[in-house]
Symmetry: C2
Subunit: 423 residues, 2 copies
């Protein structure tokens, strides 16, 4: 199996100034392409360390991907280090990247400075994949057996996360063209409402009976629940795909509506698909989630097609005045109650004249009381003909509780809308 | 200088299933304590790899902190690997952690299973720092010169991010007690409204004139602007602190109200402090930021003291009906305009009867037009006596644009409130 290492370069990651999201993204793409990630390492902007570390990684792996250290300023010294490591004798101008640098800067109304031009200069030992999202090119060094004991390829990617994210498919495509990768077939099943350990118990006997060549991974996430990834490595035939589909059919029979998508979706994307397909409109009333539900929904491009808006009613007068929650309902039941969640959902639905509404009222913490401990949330959903509520309890800190509340609300909304459509 | 390495253990990080936030947090805390982080490495759940990697890291460093691989399931094998590495002959029950396991599980209404009890068993070669936020203890191995060429300490922390975050101060305190760390004096200056490169140019001559023993770091972040960290290492006397304060005085003279805090604050915490101190109330009307401003404000514990609520008015009818934006204002100026931002801020302020309101209307992308390219936002702020707007342009993807829009709005609000208070 092709082996890879991912190396982040830069003091800012090493000393924890910024969180490294690139290496997870790269590893995940490599893994999905059937390449084994053996090692990840993070080093500072120090020429000798870069050279020594990469030499070792190239000896141990078929593919090494570096990210970072390619900025225009003096402390970014990855490029000269790579030139030295690969025995480059001169820098050459890459015309494709030079044109891209001009285009990007002009579109931002900026002049091209010498410091920018220099970004299109690369060691003569590399090929270039033009970076369409930034000024630093992706350098590809194809290294021979005599230097590293085997053929190895080094990809140097920029450190800016959205550039890495957007250019990663080009790098994976280049890897595919130059390596004999085992074909691989993946399918994702998105599950909500069961913790990873509970889900593993639920699936134990099905999992034990899986064919030997099928691999199951559990990928849990606060905002999306558990992603189950079912993979077949090796010679993937039409019959293999059919076998995977048959297993997914079995999963559906076990998990029912705990499965909210058979694509690699988030809850907000699944909500978006459903509402767009059905031509429905949606709004929200948030207390303890404080805007997180609206925020999640509007991270999806095109959300304006179905999402009308929301009210964050943090203060009680806003619940009463804007959403029309009767003050007796609050006095009799308390703010954190099924009745208030229900009135909030109905109130915002009427206010915005939407087909559906979702609401939350709870305690994200710190703090709670006997009846409603920290981590308790009531979620309400309303349509033009019905309203429904549910209670959820979590045991995280404030920010994680808010995330789980919002995710639970989106999941509860999905099941509610689906049940109305199917009845 | 004391040297440290941070090592994350677990297939889920290695293959990119989850993003590693722990190692940045640990590195940052070490760096702030005056410890040099030389190396970060990520390895899978493989016994031999764990032992070999940690042996090498312990040879090269004074302190090694591992995170992860301590869960109760069979694939977590860090503990036996550490036992083997340190020559442990048996496991012993740590009473302190055992009591904590019982307390945590009971508070969640769960029974203590054997699998949980086993978490309080540790190799006899370690000391324990009781984990007050989870079931796996922090193991401290104090290793002798004869094994690793020098005295070295290995801290094994759990992989759950909020446990690592909350227990990190205890680990740093233990490091301080057992090592002769150079004292260090840090001060943070939070700056908004200048990109890192522009800020560096602005500060060039001041920075060049800084005393040799003072160190300046630029820590940029989409949501908080640039954190400037000014540090003095070595024998820190009262006179050193005075010298740092004098430099901060010079910084204030250069940057003026681009400095929004002299603590390690986020914009939403700075807003919270100001509104709480002054007994003021706040609300928001969001279009393109879609709930992100409300979400950021409500991540601050106690936000309900000053934040009344918000309206996400994604659809035009919601802007008109709920916020009272006149439809002629929208027709004459377009949705993305100073006039609409102004009307939204005034409308939500009246609706919620708040002292202040902030609003946004713009295009996060994908897509834009000639007049308002993707990445354009109009921000409005209103008080009981005035209203003000500003335009900002960014060049990121949708999610980053939303973050920058929200941060710019909070910063614009801060300067507006401060100017009203000071006039």
């Amino acid at each position: 199996m092709t082996k890879a290492s991912v190396c982040t370069i830069g003091d800012e990651i090493l000393i924890g100034q910024i969180i490294d999201t690139n290496s997870a993204r790269i590893s995940s793409a490599l893994e999905a392409a059937g390449i084994k990630v053996s090692h990840k390492v993070s080093i500072g902007d120090e020429r000798k360390t870069i050279i020594d570390t990469l030499r070792k990684e190239l000896e141990d792996n078929d593919i090494v991907i570096t990210t970072g250290g390619l900025g225009p300023t003096a402390d970014d010294i990855t490029k000269p280090a790579l030139a030295e490591l690969t025995g480059s004798e001169k820098y050459v101008l890459n015309e494709g990247q030079a044109a891209m640098v001009r285009e990007i800067l002009h579109s931002r109304g900026l002049d091209v400075l010498d410091i920018n031009k220099a970004q299109a200069l690369v060691p003569d030992t590399c090929e270039v994949i033009v970076n369409r999202f930034g000024t630093a090119p992706i350098m590809v060094f194809r290294l021979s057996e005599k230097d590293f004991g085997h053929k190895a390829t080094l990809y140097s990617m920029p450190g800016v996360p959205h550039e890495t994210e957007n250019m990663l498919p080009d790098v994976i495509e280049d890897i595919r063209r130059h390596n004999e990768l085992s074909p691989i077939y993946h399918r994702n099943v998105m599950v909500y409402g069961l913790a990873e350990s509970a889900l593993a118990m639920e699936l134990a006997s099905w999992e034990a009976a899986l064919p030997k060549d099928m691999h199951l991974a559990y990928l849990p996430n606060t905002l999306t629940g558990v992603r189950l990834r079912l993979s077949v490595y090796g010679g993937v035939e039409a019959s293999d795909k059919e076998r995977v589909e048959a297993e997914i059919g079995r999963l559906k029979a076990i998990l029912g509506d705990k499965i909210y998508s058979l694509d690699d979706d988030t809850l907000q994307h699944a909500v978006g698909k459903l509402f767009r397909e059905r031509g429905l409109s949606l709004c929200a009333a948030e207390s303890c989630t404080g805007g997180e539900i609206a925020h999640l929904l509007t991270t999806v491009p095109g959300a304006s097609e179905y999402f009308l808006g929301s009210v964050t009613s943090y203060a009680i007068p806003v619940k009463e005045k804007v959403l029309g929650v009767p003050s007796e309902t609050i006095q009799m039941n308390g703010v954190v109650s099924s009745e208030v969640a229900s009135a909030m959902a109905q109130g915002v639905r009427k206010l915005m004249d939407a087909d559906y509404a979702v609401s939350t009222t709870g305690l994200a913490g710190p703090g709670g009381d006997e009846r409603n401990p920290e981590g308790t949330v009531w979620v309400g959903v309303a349509s033009r003909k019905a309203v429904k509520t549910a209670i959820f309890r979590y045991h995280n800190d404030r920010i994680r509780n808010i995330e789980r509340f919002a995710a639970s609300a989106l999941y509860f909304l999905l099941t509610f809308v689906n049940s109305e459509i199917n009845n």
